[in-house]
Symmetry: none
Subunit: 195 residues, 2 copies
DNA sequence: TTGACAGCAGAACGAACGTTCTTTATAGTT
DNA sequence: AACTATAAAGAACGTTCGTTCTGCTGTCAA
């Protein structure tokens, strides 16, 4: 999108979306853009779609892409050299949820207690993003129900039996006697540093 | 919303929204909900609106509310050493973005590269939630600009001078010669496990 | 056994919608 | 002065949408 006019329209669309979380009809977009022609609205949206700021559902509805939520890079002119140890990505309000959660109805958050997975970078107080399902693969970090207890461990196999391996040498490997019921699989992790 | 049937419909709607970022027409919602009657779709949406999961724009379009994005947070934490019995996890709800981000305009997301903070449970590929500001306290994990490079380290003090301490013995402590410019302070961390 | 209601299906309809085509105005270029 | 591109307006049209109303079926209490 080389055009400055379209950038202006994009801003207006973004502002509208921030307010209403939807892209309205062409008629309403005429007001939003400050023009009077539906066909011109369509031309604008088509160009924004070419620039991958919006796209269409199979039903024809316009929806924002990830690009749509991107914000201009650090306003500070900081430096020209490419950072080595760290690369910057842009994100806005929406992105975190979207990044971590594919199927909202199957996802639950569980606060982690204890240090048993510390070598996997999972600390006490971290929040685990768990997708509820009954099956998992070897190597997955799972929330399992062993003898009516929740526990977060790596799923492994030993002599044909499933075992739960902690990521901390100070904790024992769990070899379930009865049933090993899997509550869900760890798909994400959230940590908040206190102020 | 006391009805458990409506809860099921809500889940389906949330899953659809996660995919398409929009609430579709009644006709399409018939398929999504698995029913055949547009009038019944409307009845369902009306009830969801009463329960404040969705609302309408002045144009009549359905849009999600904040409640819509809330995730269940399990009451019992996952235990490592001493497990707690499983209880039904219908506790608090919360929104991930809200938890991590106080001031969107000052918050940026940065993907972490390298292993220099691994002992602090920060791994390569994790996403750091950084609040941009120029000042930090001793002990904070900061994103600093050293010699035109971004770097993520713990801020410390040595002989009256600020130093940047990695959380990995294989990496050297950084003792900035010139200015130590602080880009921001780490306030959160996000990790996504690949499928 | 009746009747009341919840849960849905289906039709009917006017308004709104997206699309396409044609036309106009302005600005810049040759 | 003639040409061209851009930006927009406007009309025309077939489709789709949301709404309302009416009808059907099962359940459960009276």
């Amino acid at each position: 999108m080389t055009d400055h006019k379209d950038t202006e329209y994009l801003y207006k669309l973004q502002d509208y979306y921030a307010d209403w979380k939807s892209i309205p009809s062409y008629a309403r977009l005429c007001e939003v853009f400050g023009i009077a022609s539906k066909s011109w609205v369509k031309a604008i949206l088509t160009r924004l779609a070419d620039a991958e700021f919006i796209e269409r559902t199979p039903d024809g509805a316009w929806i924002p892409t990830r690009q749509f939520f991107a914000r201009p890079l650090a306003e500070s002119s900081v430096q020209a050299g490419m950072p080595v140890s760290v690369t910057a990505t842009q994100g806005d309000f929406f992105v975190i949820d979207e990044m971590l959660i594919d199927t909202p109805s199957k996802t639950t958050l569980i606060t982690v207690k204890g240090e048993s997975m510390i070598d996997a970078g999972i600390h006490d107080g971290d929040v685990a993003v768990v997708e509820k399902r009954m099956t998992a693969n070897i190597g997955d970090i799972v929330v399992a129900i062993v003898d009516d207890d929740f526990t977060l461990k790596t799923l492994d196999r030993e002599n044909g039996a499933f075992i739960l391996r902690p990521a901390n040498p100070a904790f024992p490997v769990i070899r379930p006697q009865g049933t090993l019921e899997i509550y869900g699989v760890l798909i994400g992790l959230i940590r908040k540093y206190k102020r």
